[in-house]
């Protein structure tokens, strides 16, 4: 238990709404990169919506499908997919990095007997999983 201090007037500085850009004259690159990291999810979601729409068009017959495939060749769509790909890759990079770090620090998560696995192996594991998944999908897509 702690005795309440006799209250005195205090001043709380408001946090800027754009804190991830600038706060009190200072730019913090890590805050900005954090916001970009969170923003990746929007592009992932947009891609998922487009993909869902593509599948939905299959129910409308071959012409609807072909028309949409054709429109995907347009400039705006290409630009969007380039940006979406960059964001998606940034998501993969940060997500796998954070899970690696967490497993490396985690308790009992990656232990062989009483020995904790060196972080480099965990990193190889998660980035390796990405490479494997990517190759498998590409292979199946091209050959099925």
């Amino acid at each position: 238990m702690m005795l309440d201090s006799e209250t005195t007037k205090t001043y709380t500085r408001p946090i800027s709404k754009a804190w991830w850009l600038r706060d009190r004259g200072h730019f913090n690159r890590r805050y900005f990169m954090f916001l970009l990291r969170e923003l990746t999810s929007v592009f992932v979601a947009l891609y998922v919506v487009i993909f869902t729409y593509e599948i939905f068009l299959l129910t409308k017959g071959p012409d609807a499908h072909a028309a949409f495939q054709e429109s995907l060749r347009s400039g705006p769509f290409i630009v969007f997919f380039v940006i979406a790909l960059l964001f998606a890759l940034y998501h993969s990079w940060t997500w796998l990095g954070l899970t690696t770090k967490m497993q490396a620090a985690g308790r009992g998560l990656v232990k062989i007997g009483t020995k904790t696995l060196p972080p480099i192996f965990i990193a190889l594991g998660s980035y390796g999983a990405w490479i494997v998944a990517t190759c498998v999908i590409a292979y199946l897509f091209l050959t099925l």
Partner: protein, 120 residues
Amino acid sequence: MNYKEHKSEPFWWGMFSQGGVIAALLIPIHIFLCGLAVPLGLIDPELLSYERITALLQNPLVKLYLCVLLIFPLYHAAHRIRFTLAEIGLHSLAKVLPVLCYGGALAGTAVVLYILWVLL
């Protein structure tokens, strides 16, 4: 301050993190293949032809894969959007945002399931 263990957050967070893993592992290659490689003519456009895709979708395993691919990232995005919006200025809506975001993801789930298992 009266603290109370939150019972539903683990569920949303669990969905978010599953979605994060799936998005991290699978989405980039999909964007590349379907969004860039085929439209730019880097690979054969026939790979995305109506006939091939509908044939593929006859396979329940493919359907299941698409369910996973399309549903989990929605929760991933919903979770991040919910918190990011609060963090960049909509903090006053902190109570409403989960309803909107997870509601959206749930609706998306229904749409995906409906398309894949009913319409197709």
